[in-house]
Symmetry: C2
Subunit: 129 residues, 2 copies
């Protein structure tokens, strides 16, 4: 079991380890089921750990899947772009500076102060198209 990042509590480390091991999105309840042998018993234990991990940028929430995935980059830019394959379920996290710029431009034009961005693209990945 890896100490994948410093300063994590036991529950947070368990949840993060599980997500990293999976490499794919997992629902909170799937995580809970996987961690029952480790002693977790209630959804709230998982949700609380996920909240902290998302705050730190170690985990991303996929709104369109109601699921969570470990961040695959070491630098945790808050605005990630996800390519979600509808056939195989793979999720690719992209860094998209061009998109960041376009979003910033759009927000500026509307006089809108951006806090966070949800950008999830669904379709078929390279291997499945």
């Amino acid at each position: 079991m890896g100490a994948l990042a410093e300063g994590l509590t036991r529950n947070q480390a368990l949840v993060l380890d599980r997500l990293v091991a999976a490499g794919t999105p997992l629902s909170a309840y799937a995580i809970l089921d996987a961690l029952r042998p480790s002693g977790l018993k209630a959804p709230l234990q998982v949700y609380r750990a996920l909240d902290r991990l998302v705050d730190r940028g170690l985990v991303h929430r996929l709104e369109s899947l109601n699921a969570f995935i470990a961040c695959c980059h070491d630098q945790h830019d808050r605005t990630a772009v996800f390519l979600i394959c509808q056939r195989c379920g793979a999720v690719d996290e992209e860094d998209a500076p061009t998109l960041q710029g376009a979003i910033a431009d759009l927000a500026r034009a509307s006089n809108f102060a951006v806090d966070s961005v949800v950008l999830e693209i669904k379709g078929l990945c390279r291997g499945c198209r």
Copy 2:
């Protein structure tokens, strides 16, 4: 009570009218509660109507809110972008060709075939910032 579009069934028209009248996002259950006087009784009646309306592009689903909003444009051939104010709850639907282009470029670079795009920007609107 407008016949807001042709070819809608009674339930679909009820749901769409309610969303248009609201002008803001509504959850499926909020719609159901509003339409109980009109005879709707079960969530599935609302969800089925919403499915058809979303298929036609008359309604959008806001993934990050688990809610639905009437499309404010008459034609909707593009992917919509939503600016969601975290303070007043207003949702602004934008047409963003520049973003479309950036998304297409990104997908092309990853050899990813885009089916649909979820793009929801949260922050403070002009009046609330």
